[in-house]
Symmetry: C2
Subunit: 491 residues, 2 copies
């Protein structure tokens, strides 16, 4: 039967991805430098092979025939998700794929030295090539999918999301965010906050991280914690490989990082066992994934009730300090300060960084903005949203992120979608289970159960809109997020 | 050109093997238990895929055409080695491969509980099935290769080696070994040897292991040391993954284990860079591989001159003990004691374990011995070679090794071939460079250079006979090994 043949084929694909995920983790955590060339070649062979398998000629027939077969509703969705993966892998002419990938590698490689040198002039031609090829990719995808160019890229990370929706929700956020930021700054200007004094030994930080992961229900029979330069949540859902990095002067970085990645990890570990090897059993979207990490990091870990549980753990691992007082930590972990760098931004100013990037990348892809005009546009939007100028400061401006260098246009919105979904989930959860502080204090597992039941177990069996509406009682909107920020930062 | 097409094809194969090697290492060292089912499935998909690629229909034509092309001598050997790998992968009917693999898995799985229970009756039917299928595999291989059945299995591990040669060399060893063993026991019966007193903390043992690996020239830019239940040397030659296990009561086990595996590792790290992705660039045979580990462990590390360097390292990591005196350590590391268990055997009694297994497995495969008669035969040979009876003691007799449970017949001789090759190499090296104690004391790197020049750099570019004759001035024979044992144990 064609459906079974497809299922088998995609399970094989999944097994190859498993090997790639583990070897990718190894590359970032374990591999000695001298192994990198051989590894890169092995990974590249795997990617080619995996892509070849998706292009097997029999797949088209199998899809056509399977779509005529009697299937259960879940099988029907599974078939759709296999088709989506197949379509994404076969939609573009292979010379365009090659050129796009080459331009991306070149630009990203150059960026690693051009960014520290603040060399926009050197970066621009490489970046223009990436934008140019991204436009071609977008045009080809748009044609097949019947979407606008930018939406065709967005579709890769956020199936079903459209720029019309983003425009609407971001327009609303822009109306209240700048005012909110200044109000919070005013309010916090009177606070005195103590910083914990290091050094904080790596081994103790690791032990603290493991304690907090246990508290958050991470399943160590199906995962582990290691160190990498750029923290991530990798591996496979049966064996989630979470990483962090340790700064001996700053305990919050690894602590909050581990909590964030644990949110990603629990989503992976909570995906439904019977669908794990198929596309339909994977995480719904980047935005939903980020909603889980931000639920853990923002809704949960920076909540005063959770900080009350973090405080004794810090004392236990690093001795007593006045800065570890729960009230001080709560202030420390919710400080708001507009800055240049997205990855260092707090919960309140973060959406400004994302909206700015969204507007620029959307216009770049739609051909309404030229690559050479990005710095000026960036500077203007930074001034509008955060009151900061990046004139001439490319390295802390439009050259700060890796995303655009390899053509990952359409990804940035996921971060703020995640923040909004997380707020909606927290709001719905409280409406159903009672106030978050009580849940945190008395029944932490009930929070995870709610997420398991409402988000994790559905994997990609529901589309994002249905998933969120079913879980939260309403589709994507910014009001729960606004309410959360106002309550936490101005309440 | 067909030669290039083949080269590309086998390089792709190598890249897949790379991923399998790293994921195999991860499985043994890093993977949490809960990940094992998914990993086993992913590894199995890789094996199937890799096997399919070797069965690609175009390969036969490419081989035929490449063999007509003008090639350099090295390319000609490379082609031969590709053909060998291809031939091995395609020679057997796939239903036989499937049945053999299934019987092996079943028998090995059952063995894990039947051995501790000393349950020969439960083991026999499973073992008979493995022997039966191994005979069929041997017969099919024999037919294609024009070899005897047992030789066709030996050929998998020791290309070019024949049982006629083994019979000859082992017959010679049998003439002097039992006498030598009793002489050594007599001589040692007067010695008083101190055992180092533990516990030896794992972290310190690891630090000692790393020190010794550095002393032995292990390249940490292309490898690392970790922990696994069953120590091995894995990974790829660009990134060698060496493992050990630590017993807090016994520092010698991990120390000698690490030195042994470092011998394997340096061979891998010393393979010629330009051939690494092809069959011709791989280690020559299991026996040559073992000759390197045994050179490091037996010729080098248990040599009094090397022990003089180990002694201060032990003191440095564990404090001063009378047992760490070099003279005591030298006695300790060369104690001879006949025992039941091969893996615990010393350098002198080890060949007896191997010869016994060789005679039994040869006769099993050639149909001259029935599986049910193995325990009796084992008991007789143990009495003859080591004066020990295993009557009724199956778990310390014929059920002690994993090798036969999955049908790895033909592998055991490699251990003693390795010991003999190592002795030949040490003898030739000394004839060329001077006495080993001087080299160890004054110029350790010259020893590694000799091995690099005479063994490692040749990979599979020479056949074993040529490799050994060229390096040592004569083909395989037991006299250097005999001389080494007499000098060390009776001198
Ligand atoms: Zn994240
Ligand atoms: Zn070995």
């Amino acid at each position: 039967m064609s459906y079974d043949a497809l299922t088998h084929h995609f399970e094989q694909q999944h097994h190859l991805q498993h090997l790639g995920a583990i070897c990718g983790w190894d590359q970032a955590t374990m591999m000695p430098t001298g192994g990198s060339q051989a590894r890169a070649e092995a990974m590249s062979t795997l990617a080619i092979l995996s892509h070849q398998q998706l292009q097997a000629p029999q797949l088209a027939d199998w899809f056509a025939s399977a779509e005529q077969s009697p299937l259960t509703p879940e099988q029907t969705v599974s078939l759709q998700e296999m088709r989506r993966q197949w379509r994404d892998a076969t939609m573009l002419p292979s010379d365009l794929v090659g050129a796009f990938s080459l331009a991306g590698s070149r630009c990203e490689h150059a960026w690693r030295s051009l960014r520290p040198a603040n060399d926009w002039a050197g970066f621009l031609p490489l970046f223009e090539e990436v934008v140019n090829l991204s436009q071609q990719v977008a045009a080809a995808r748009a044609e097949v999918l019947g979407l606008s160019r930018y939406d065709s890229l967005l579709e890769q990370f956020e199936p079903g999301m459209r720029s019309s929706t983003l425009n609407q929700v971001f327009t609303e956020v822009k109306q209240w965010l700048p005012t909110l930021i200044s109000k919070v700054q005013d309010k916090q200007s009177h606070d005195t906050v103590l910083s914990p004094q290091g050094p904080f030994a790596t081994e103790q930080q690791r032990a603290l991280g493991l304690d907090v992961m246990r508290l958050l229900g991470f399943d160590f029979n199906h995962g582990r914690l290691d160190v990498s330069v750029h923290p991530f949540c990798g591996g496979v859902s049966e064996d989630v490989r979470l990483t962090t990095r340790y700064d001996e002067q700053d305990v919050a970085q690894a602590l909050m990082g581990v909590i964030h990645e644990t949110g990603h990890a629990r989503y992976e570990q909570g995906l439904p066992v019977q669908w794990r090897k198929l596309p339909v059993g994977q995480a719904r979207s980047m935005g939903i994934h980020e909603s889980q990490s931000l639920f853990f990091e923002m809704q949960l870990a920076r909540h005063p009730a959770f900080i009350k549980q973090l405080s004794p753990l810090l004392t236990q691992h690093f001795g007593d300090q006045a800065a570890f007082d729960p009230n001080n930590l709560a202030q420390l972990y919710t400080r708001v300060q507009p800055g240049f760098i997205r990855v260092d931004a707090d919960e309140v100013t973060y959406p400004a960084h994302v909206m700015l990037r969204y507007e620029i990348e959307r216009d770049l892809i739609e051909g309404k903005l030229a690559a050479k005009d990005v710095p000026e546009c960036w500077d203007q939007l930074m001034q509008t949203y955060l009151g900061l100028s990046t004139k001439g400061n490319y390295k802390d401006g439009c050259m700060q992120d890796i995303h655009w260098t390899d053509g990952s246009f359409g990804y940035f919105p996921s971060y703020t979608l995640g923040a909004m979904y997380a707020a909606q989930q927290a709001s719905a959860m409280q409406a159903q289970l009672g106030p978050l502080d009580t849940l945190i204090e008395q029944n932490l597992p009930s929070i995870f159960d709610w997420l398991q039941h409402n988000i994790w177990q559905h994997a990609s069996l529901l589309d994002t809109d249905t998933l969120i509406t079913q879980a939260c009682g309403q589709p994507l909107n910014a009001s729960a997020f606004k309410q959360h920020l106002e309550q936490r930062y101005l309440g």
